[in-house]
Structures are given as C-alpha cells and as structure tokens.
C-alpha cells in the first residue's frame, strides 16, 4: 500500500511537472504582436471584435492594438521606426507616405502573403511601388465622400434631395430662410475638414474623376485650369451657409452640430456613419455630390484609405505574416465592414452590409464613376506638399482669405517648384 501510494505520488507529481512544463512551454510560445494605428476611435472594436476573432483562429498569437492620436501618428511612428521600437504591424496611410517607409526599408513587401489575389490591382495601387512590382501593405478599406442629411429637417423645411449644383444651393437657401437649422455643418478651424469634406468631396464632378486626376499627374492639366478652380469657386459660396463662427469650428464641433440635430446637411466621409448612428436621434439619408448640369455623369471619391504592413524589424515575421494573411480573409472583410460601417472592404469578397446608410454610400458605386483624392498619388512627394497645401487653400477660400484663383495659382506654383511631370 505505501508503495502504491508512493508510485501514485511519483506519477502524479510527474504528470503535474509535465503539465507545468507544457503549459509554460505553451506560454513561452505565445507571441504578442503590436499594431500601430491612428484609428484610436476604433480601439473598442479591435479589442472586442476583431482581435478575439483572430486569436480564436490562431492560438498562440496575441495581438495588442496600440493606437496613437491621428495628429501624432506619423511623427511618433516615424520616430519609432527610425529607432527600431515600432510595433510589428503598421497601419499604412495610402500612397507616398507609406511608399517612403517601404523605400527606407521599414516595411517588407507583402506580395507573397497568401490571399493577396483577392485585391484588384486598383486596390493594391495605393500601396505598391510605381512599377507595381512590390506591394507593401495589405489593403483594408476605402472611404467614400458624399453628404449626409437630416431627413426630419428636409421634411420640415420641405426640400428634396438635390441632384444638381443649382438644386443644392436652392435647398441651402430654403433651409437658411426657414431658420430652424444651420444649413450645413462644416468648419475651417481644422483645415483638413475643408479640404477633404469640401474640395475632395465635390471636386471629382468638376475635374471628371480619374481623367482629370491622371491628366494633372501627367502635366496635361494644371490646377489653374477652369476645371480645377471650379470646386474652389463653389466652396467659396458655402461660407454663407455654415454656422456662426465656422472659422473656429473644429471637426468634432461639426459632428456634434449635426448629431445634435442643429444642422440639415453634413459634408461627410463615410467613416462618420458610425459616430452618427450612436448619437443622432433623427432619421438620416445620404446623397452623392450634386453634378453641375442635370444628367451629367456623377463622380465620387472612393478613396483607398487604410491598409496594414509588416515592420521589417519585427521579431516575429512569421506570425506577422499570418496576421496579414488573415486580413485578406472573408471573415475579416465581414467583421471590419460591419463593425465599422463606412469603411468599405477593398477585397473581392462578397460582404453583406447591415447598415442601411453605409449601403446607400456603396450603391453610388454603380451609379457614379469612382476616383481617389487628387493630391495623394505622386503629387505629395515633394516640398511643398500638395495635400497639406490644399488644406490651407481650401480653408482660406472658404474664410475669404484667398480668392479661388489665387489659391489655385499658389498650389500650382508650389507643385511646379519640385514636380516635373513625365519623369
């Protein structure tokens, strides 16, 4: 009996020891990946939905989403990359900013990540070298510009959804005259709001989307051409319909103004949808940027906005690649598009959108021609940086600090100072 006991004890303790060893081995194998991102708004969705879905499918890999405020993202990320302390996965801004990181050797090519073939060359173009040979980030989502409106307000004032520029201003006039709503919620304090929600939103209708954008890059058109000045002339007219003190109104102020039901129309990026869904207590609808004349082709900015790449200095390249491969899956496309309505998947997977407002935005893809923001590809490689200059120009035009023509000339001069088309 004592013997038996002894043996059981030995067996037991051995089993225990092995168990401990195994579990500690498993623990040691647990790899933690860190994601660098500027999407701090999405923190809860990553923590509660996206990461658990990945971890469930890939035991042994833990993921931490570690966002920085958008304004600090680039500065903080570049500094950390230079010093070699950045996270394993890097959220990529489109085009030149990330291309530069790739050229400097901070990002690895993702051509061989399984599943990259679910993205069209167009989707990949925002994160590929000019010759298309290397892709360095896995595309995640695009965003679409347009206008979100307060349905209750439109009903109360008695305006219909505008299709043309003329109808648009007529609607604004009517809302203004009626007086219960600020016609349009936008401010110029943050500058990018004027450029992105204003200029890049309505612009494609005037410069004819991709045709104009490519012509600008090839040097066949100039920012001082009528088609490129026109959106500034329209923006200038917006000033009359913005809220009191719009010059000091920040982007969150605009969001609040619309969400509180104080404004009728909101020049939007589709990413605003989720904010309004949780805060607005009225019915909302959306319309695409009104065209110049009835029956004109409409163009929308369907901008490849966000992707993810691998830090070349990551200590866990295999696991990082696994995560990137997961980003190409139908599972991820579905979770991402539906938990963040307004971010539209760039993959070829069929995604069923549950949010009606987001669905409205996506529907435009079949009625309008798509393009991306005019300043992002190639034209923001030098100093002065065209995108950043466009922020100031758009805000200045609305504020009345610069005429549309003067702003256009300044931008073109800046571009000419370093950009020689066709090289």
């Amino acid at each position: 009996m004592p013997r038996q006991n002894f043996r059981t004890a030995i067996l037991g303790s051995t089993a225990l020891a092995i168990g401990v060893l195994l579990s500690s081995a498993a623990f040691a194998e647990d790899v933690t990946l860190t994601i660098e991102s500027w999407r701090n708004d999405d923190l809860p969705i990553w923590q509660d939905k996206i990461i658990p879905a990945f971890e469930a499918a890939n035991p042994g890999i833990k993921v931490v989403f570690s966002p920085t405020a958008p304004t600090e993202y680039n500065a903080a990320l570049n500094t950390k990359l230079d010093a070699g302390t950045a996270g394993d996965l890097i959220t990529c801004r489109p085009f030149d900013a990330s291309l530069e990181l790739f050229k400097k050797g901070h990002l690895t090519a993702v051509n061989d990540v399984p599943g990259m073939d679910t993205f069209s060359p167009v989707a990949k173009s925002a994160w590929s070298t000019d010759d298309g040979a290397s892709t360095f980030c896995v595309p995640m989502a695009s965003v679409i510009h347009g206008f979100i409106y307060n349905k209750d307000a439109f009903e109360k004032v008695g305006v219909a959804v505008p299709k043309t520029e003329e109808e648009f201003f007529a609607a604004l006039d009517k809302i203004k005259a009626e007086g219960s709503y600020v016609p349009m919620a936008m401010g110029t304090a943050d500058q990018w709001e004027a450029a992105t929600m204003g200029y890049q939103n309505i612009g494609p209708n005037y410069w004819h989307g991709e045709d104009g954008r490519k012509a600008l890059i090839e040097g066949k058109e100039k920012l001082t051409d009528a088609d490129w000045v026109a959106p500034y002339q329209v923006l200038k007219r917006w000033a009359d319909y913005l809220g009191d003190g719009f010059k000091a109104q920040t982007y969150p102020d605009s969001q609040n103004m619309f969400a509180l039901g104080r404004a009728a129309i909101y020049p939007a990026g589709s990413w605003d949808i989720s904010v309004f869904n949780t805060q607005a207590e009225f019915k909302m609808g959306a319309f695409y940027p009104p065209v110049k004349g009835a029956g004109d082709t409409c163009y929308i900015s369907d901008h490849a906005d966000i992707a993810m790449g691998a830090n070349a200095k990551s200590a866990h390249p295999e696991e990082t690649k696994k995560f990137l491969a997961w980003l190409t899956s139908a599972d991820f496309a579905d979770i991402y598009a539906n938990s963040l309505p307004g971010f539209f998947s760039l993959s070829s997977h069929e995604v069923k959108l549950q949010d009606p407002l987001a669905q409205e935005f996506v529907n435009w893809r079949s009625t309008c021609k798509q393009t991306i923001r005019s300043t992002y590809q190639i034209l923001s490689r030098g100093t002065p940086n065209l995108e950043n200059e466009t922020w100031g120009a758009s805000a200045n035009v609305i504020n009345g600090a610069e005429t549309p023509e003067a702003a256009a000339k300044r931008l073109q001069d800046g571009l000419d100072s370093w950009y020689k088309p066709g090289q």
């Binding site: 680039n74 085009f95 530069e100 000091a248 103004m257 923001s380 940086n385 995108e387 950043n388 800046g414």
Partner: protein
C-alpha cells in the same frame, strides 16, 4: 607639505564625486543628443544616403522664398507672442503681486493658491478647456459676454487670422501668470522693512510708494522674469499644437518657431519629416535664444546689479 597635497588630492576626488552624476546624465541624455541634432543641420539625405553639405541648408532656409517666408512669419509671430506676454502677463502679474503684498490682507493665501492653480494644469487640459469655452458651438463665451451686455464683441477668435494669435497668447498668459506673480511677490516681501518705514516717514505711501520705492527695488526680479519668459516663449509649442494643430491655423497665423520646427522635423500628415531642415531650424532657434540670453546677462543684468543695494 605632504599634508596639504593629500588634502588637495582628497578634495579633487570630492569634486569629481559631486559633479559626476549630474554631468553624466546631462551630457549623455541631453548634450550629446542635441549635438547630434545640430550636426544634422550640416547634412542632407538623398536616396537614403547622408552627405555633408556645409551651410547649404541655411541657404535654403533663408534663400528659398517658400522656406524664408514661413520662417519669418513664424519668427514674427513668435516675437508677437513674446510681446503679448511681456505686455500682459508681467504687468498683471506684478499688479497681482502688489495687491497680494498689501499688509494684513485677509484671504491672502486663498487668492494666491487659486491664481497660481492654472500653472499646474497640463497643456492638453488647458488647450482643450479653452477650445471648448471659445467654441462657437458650445456658446459659453457668447453667453458670458451677453450677461455683461457685450455679446456683439464675440467672434470665433481662435479661427480668425487677426485674432487667433492674440487669443492663444492670452490663454498662455492665463496659464502662466502665477509664476511672475509669485516671483515678484517674493521680491516685494524681501524689501527690508526699514526702507518702507523710511518712505512712510517721508509721506510716500500707497501707489506712489509702489512706483517710487518698490518698483525700482524689484527691477532685478522683473529682469529675471523677462528673460525666463523669453526663453519659455521661444521654446513654446505645446499649447498651439494642442489647440490649433501642427499647421498652426488659420493660415499659419499662430505658427511660431516651435510649431514650424515640429512640422519640419517630424513631418505632418502626408509630409514626411525632414530631420536635416528640422535641425537647421533648431540651430537657428538655439542661436537666437543664445544671443538674447547672452545680451541679457552681459549688458542688462550687469547694469542692474550696479543699482542693487
């Protein structure tokens, strides 16, 4: 002989022990990194290869109209930022200190504590608080003005080119006024009682006493505060960055050297950081601050010492 040499040698070791920790930390973590940055101003980088270019970056900064215009605009704004501090923060701080030093004042420590309080708050908090208060959407500032019948004076101050810099300077003054107040208050307290008594015997009291007797005596303290304000203002960055963004809007109306440097050095949005031009701006800032401080120490400070009692 031997005694004194051993004594001396022992003293030497003490000196080293006393100095070493400070010098080590300061040199390794501050001087060397900064020297590295300043050195970068003489280099440039093309296609990931760094090359020595002498003073070419400085030629670009002052010669290229685009860089030069941004630089002079930032410098001009910075000077205004400083002048507003000198014109508002220091006189008001001195006035508050003078009021606080009124003898047998009830509630003195409560006043002192409260007025100094904003100095303790972070830029993040202060920038945001004032943005909210001055926000046209929230309407706190307009309704406060309406309460005293001045509603028509309200404007989107942080968003207008001609008011933004003044508004942001005043927020900064609000934050830091406690420092000149305290330093002057201390200087006033240190004036010997005999001097005041003598003045009162001569019938000089109240305001006249402040102007004729006390003010000249606290001039060194005012000088010290001015130079501290100068250094702080020419290193300022956070408040404007937090409330107006890295582009220091509207239309660069609030752009000062600190924000210009940050934008250039670390980049912004699609603009990538340029360490070499950033280092060039940093070097120029360093030289500006150095020359003003040297001028103060060599000329003004020395002259004021002469009048000290």
């Amino acid at each position: 002989m031997t005694d004194s040499t051993t004594y001396r040698r022992a003293r030497r070791w003490h000196i080293l022990v006393f100095l070493a920790p400070a010098l080590l930390v300061y040199t390794v973590l501050m001087v060397l990194p900064l020297a590295e940055t300043l050195r970068l101003s003489l280099y440039t980088e093309t296609e990931q290869v760094r090359s020595f270019v002498g003073f070419a970056n400085f030629t670009v900064l002052f010669g290229d109209p685009r860089w030069a215009q941004t630089f002079w605009n930032a410098l001009g704004n910075n000077v205004q930022f400083f002048l507003i501090h000198m014109a508002v923060q220091n006189p008001v701080g001195i006035a508050l200190a003078a009021l606080l030093s009124v003898p047998r004042l009830r509630g003195r420590s409560a006043y002192r504590t409260t007025i100094f309080m904003p100095t303790m708050l972070s830029f993040v908090v202060i920038g945001f608080i004032w943005k909210l208060i001055l926000s046209p959407l929230w309407g706190v500032a307009p309704s406060l003005l309406a309460a005293i019948g001045l509603k028509s004076l309200f404007g989107p101050w942080l968003g207008q080119e001609h008011t933004a810099l003044i508004a942001i300077s005043l927020v900064s003054v609000w934050q830091f006024i406690g420092i000149p107040m305290m330093l002057i208050y201390a200087a006033l307290l240190s004036i010997p009682d005999e001097v005041i008594e003598a003045a009162e015997c001569d019938g000089v009291s109240g305001l006249a006493q402040f102007w004729k007797i006390k003010l000249p005596l606290i001039l060194p303290a005012i000088g010290l505060i001015s130079i501290l304000t100068f250094v702080a203002n020419f290193n300022a960055f956070d408040l404007i960055y937090v409330s107006q963004g890295a582009l220091a809007g509207p239309n660069f109306a609030t752009d000062i050297l600190g924000t210009f440097l940050y934008r250039t050095f670390f980049g912004h949005q699609l603009q990538l950081g340029d360490q070499h031009m950033g280092a060039t701006i940093a070097t120029v800032m360093f030289l500006i601050i150095l020359s003003v401080v040297a001028f103060y120490l060599l000329v003004i400070h020395r002259r004021m010492r002469r009048y000290q009692f």
